[in-house]
């Protein structure tokens, strides 16, 4: 009997960033790749996968199970299973911070609150109708200000006097920001104000789930130290951020793949898998 290759891949086809993670059976991270989802990449999830495989030095056939998650999960043709980003993030968070019960994830297109019990997702809230309060808000503003996303955090930490932006709508806030700048308001105060706005929205949403400290903060926006600080202030408590907050969903996906396989093996069931062939993915649901 041929031994199963024990590598697992998780692909998180997010609205903004596509993340791929490959782990081995010991939950060791063999490779991680991130790439802008961007319009043209939306159809090309396979490229990112290819890159991750190359980095891990593995042929695709060696991957025992592929789980796709994220906004575009439905259309990753080579995935063995699609699992929602809620479950995947929870799994990722549980592995990174065992015992944690509340998590906040702010990505490009939504913000989510997760409630965990014994390492499993038990409840959640989600905000995905309006770009205000999501990573997209910060992207738009960064673009307006001609700043890199990565700069926003450290810049805002310099502010002693965050200004509040009166427009909630991302589009109008963008314009308000330019006006404020021309009024001579320091850049860092504006950025800090925006971070506060995002944080207070997110924490407001998170409150719908009785918050039990400590809170883990993941998703691309958790890379922004300014938002992290604002979330911490808003919660009035400690906030844990993983070293690599972007990949918690992809990591969770890979781990879930492992779980699925193990469970099946324990029951002696065979698992149905896709052909290991990279193909184009589209972003919108095919009708």
């Amino acid at each position: 009997m041929k031994a199963e290759p024990l590598y697992f891949a998780g692909i998180d086809l997010g609205s903004t960033m596509t993340k791929v993670v490959i782990i081995d059976a010991g939950e060791r991270l063999l490779s991680r790749v991130e790439s802008h989802t961007g319009a043209e990449h939306r159809r090309l999830a396979n490229r990112v996968m290819e890159e991750a495989l190359a980095l891990a030095g593995l042929p695709f056939s060696e991957i025992a199970y592929v789980v796709a998650t994220g906004y575009g999960r439905i259309n990753v043709p080579f995935a063995d299973r699609q699992i929602t980003e809620l479950t995947c993030h929870a799994r990722g968070v549980a592995s990174l911070f065992p015992g944690v019960r509340t998590a906040l994830d702010i990505g490009g297109q939504d913000a989510k609150g997760l409630k965990l019990k014994d390492g499993k997702l038990v409840d959640f809230v989600m905000n995905d109708k309006c770009a205000a309060g999501t990573g997209r808000f910060l992207e738009v503003i960064a673009r307006t200000l001609g700043l890199e996303l990565a700069e926003l955090g450290s810049l805002s930490l310099k502010s002693a006097n965050p200004v509040s932006i009166s427009n909630t709508c991302t589009v109008f806030a963008q314009q308000e920001v330019t006006t404020r700048l021309s009024d001579g308001v320091p850049l860092e105060d504006i950025v800090a104000g925006l971070h506060q706005a995002i944080a207070s929205r997110a924490v407001g949403m998170l409150r719908q789930l009785k918050i039990e400290p400590e809170v883990v903060f993941t998703g691309g926006v958790a890379k922004n130290s300014g938002v992290v600080k604002a979330v911490r202030e808003n919660l009035g408590g400690e906030v844990l951020v993983p070293d690599d907050p972007l990949i918690s969903g992809a990591l969770g996906a890979a781990l879930l793949g492992q779980d699925i396989l193990q469970k099946a093996q324990a029951k002696g069931e065979t698992v149905i898998r896709q052909e290991r062939r990279l193909a184009e993915a589209t972003f919108f649901q095919q009708t």
């Binding site: 319009a39 939306r42 738009v140 709508c169 109008f172």
Partner: protein, 261 residues
């Protein structure tokens, strides 16, 4: 001697100015509001006076309106844009009883009487997906000039249905659609329909009485006009320069306030 009146409309995107005299429109001017409303107002006045060779002292009265009215640095009477818009349309189409005013930041529906007095109104939420800004955002990302969006949209046979009600997410959706092969005109037409839906919901809240006029920068967009007409099932009266209607109304108000003296 002719008395001249100045109407200034400092909108969130564009500033519009009008000079009237003897009840006639003598000059108008449109420029981007930019980030400094004060400067925009100054420049606007300068340009207007320059066009007809008048000086500041020739202006008998000024009414300022719009989002940035509070920043106009020279003496003026502030009046809300809703009132000015109604007066402006009344000046052009006395039979109009309903106005759909599509500005950059919001859309509003105004009911008015034969004298241009506001008899009812409703203002949209401040969400870019319900205002002219949605068009700008999409035009920008599709690299289409604003003036071309109308004619292009009218060519569409298969408007794209947007899966989101947010202008920002709509922007990325538009990009993806293009990447997946949708035609630009179909995307534009899709946005026009989405906007027309929001506008029609507003109209339902105050009720519509014909004739119905369309003003504001949105009136420059034939695609939007047709979409609104299709949705409401009535023909729109659209003034030749829809964007300056509110400024025109402001000038008319300036004349009214001083008229008697």
């Amino acid at each position: 001697m002719t008395a001249y009146y100045l109407g200034i409309d400092i909108g969130s995107r564009t500033s519009k100015g009008v000079v009237t005299g003897d009840g006639r429109l003598l000059a108008c001017h449109v420029l981007p509001s930019g980030v400094n409303y004060r400067a925009a107002a100054e420049k606007l006045r300068e340009a207007l006076l320059g066009k007809i060779g008048l000086s500041v002292s020739d202006i008998a009265a000024t009414v300022a309106t719009g989002q940035g009215a509070g920043n106009v640095p020279f003496p003026n009477e502030p009046v809300t844009d809703i009132r000015c818009c109604a007066r402006g349309i009344n000046g052009v189409f006395p039979a109009a009883r309903t106005i759909i005013d599509v500005q950059a930041q919001s859309s509003q529906v105004i009911r008015l009487n034969g004298s241009g007095l506001v008899t009812g109104f409703v203002v949209s939420e401040k969400c870019a997906a319900g205002s002219g800004r949605f068009m700008e955002v999409i035009a920008n990302v599709l690299q289409v000039e604003l003036k071309d969006i109308g004619p292009l949209s009218l060519k569409s046979k298969n408007p794209v249905a947007f899966s989101t009600g947010c202008a920002v997410f709509g922007e990325s959706e538009a990009v993806s659609r293009v990447a997946e092969g949708s035609a630009v005109e179909d995307i534009l037409a899709g946005v026009h329909q989405a906007l027309a839906d929001k506008i029609s919901a507003l109209v339902d809240r105050v009720g519509m009485e014909t004739d119905c006029a369309l003003s504001g920068g949105g009136g420059l967009d034939t695609g939007l006009i047709r979409a609104v007409e299709a949705k409401l099932g009535v023909r729109m009266l659209v003034p030749p320069q829809p964007q300056i209607i509110t400024a025109l109304g402001a000038a008319i108000m300036a004349e009214e306030t001083r008229g008697g003296h």
